[in-house]
Symmetry: C2
Subunit: 190 residues, 2 copies
């Protein structure tokens, strides 16, 4: 999505430690007109994929998921992040390792909200090492549902998570894929 690449170039800041700051339009300020354009773009990718539901993860995935869902006319389910492994049998759960925080957390979704007939589009704001997406895919598959694909607004391609999932056969289409970045320089995948 050219407009997103341009927005990242205009408003994004590369910090050390592979961090791209896009707080001015994606988190934690949200440029809602632009967000809705991203929703339209996601709809174009999955128009004929038979998506029945969008699954995302709190907190900043929710805005992108809602924008896409408003266009695609499906519902959103968001997974919660839990510190504790003490969850009830009424939820699907998966363990996710956060490299950013150096800790593990558990993502959970109540079993009521995904069923075996669902074709699920997984959405998040960022894709880096792919651990969050792997957890969400795991949950969809525990429910016996199908993964239609994964779309993140910004993929840090150089961290390899997206390509690893593509190799496993999942459709992963991010709206912008950064191939290389350093303070003052951002290059996108062609």
């Amino acid at each position: 999505m050219k407009a997103l690449e341009q927005k990242i170039l205009n408003e994004g800041t590369v910090l050390g430690g592979d961090i791209l700051k896009v707080g001015s339009f994606l988190n934690q300020q949200i440029d809602v007109a632009f967000l809705m354009e991203m929703g339209e773009e996601i709809d174009k990718i999955y128009k004929n994929a038979g998506v029945t539901k969008i699954l995302t993860i709190e907190a900043s995935g929710i805005a992108v998921a809602v924008a896409a869902a408003a266009v695609m006319k499906v519902n959103v389910v968001f997974a919660k992040k839990n510190k504790t492994s003490n969850v009830s049998g009424e939820v699907y759960s998966a363990n996710v390792h956060s490299f950013t925080h150096g800790t593990d957390y558990l993502v959970t979704v109540p079993k009521d909200y995904i069923d075996a007939n669902d074709k699920i589009l997984i959405i998040d704001d960022f894709l880096a090492n792919g651990k969050a997406l792997e957890g969400l895919i795991d949950i969809v598959e525990q429910a016996g549902a199908e993964v239609a694909g994964c779309t993140c607004a910004i993929e840090k391609g150089f961290q390899g998570g997206g390509d690893k999932l593509r190799k496993k056969g999942y459709k992963v289409e991010s709206l912008a894929v950064i191939e290389k970045m350093s303070p003052g320089n951002i290059e996108f995948r062609k």
Copy 2:
């Protein structure tokens, strides 16, 4: 909002401890078509109020805020919840006591995202004792900006937070106000 009251009656479940479960449409599954209707309703309330920005709080406030913002054509800023009181000078922060979890947390918003000329609509999904709204109001006022009003999807009127803010002179218009509830019974404020 009659349609919301009906939806709460149809899909909500009252649990012990003043908890109303509306996970099937508001959190953590989001009925996005209905969410957009709530956005239209919020726009009606603030159409002529000169709102420049919507402030909400992660995680489940984000969806309602985005829906309203899409109709009102303004941006959203979401406050983050932090466990630690160790925040930098680049953010506005306020302490919030959570009765649900029995702990305090700090809400923060980068100073860049609110300025003194803003007229801010504060949105959240639930209003109970009002502590989260008080924290968000505090942040708006630290920035020297104006609070246009506060709107939550569901106010538990019997917990008194909304009325306390109204007494202080703030405009608080919730889409549905529950006056009384117990398992199997929900009564709305007239």
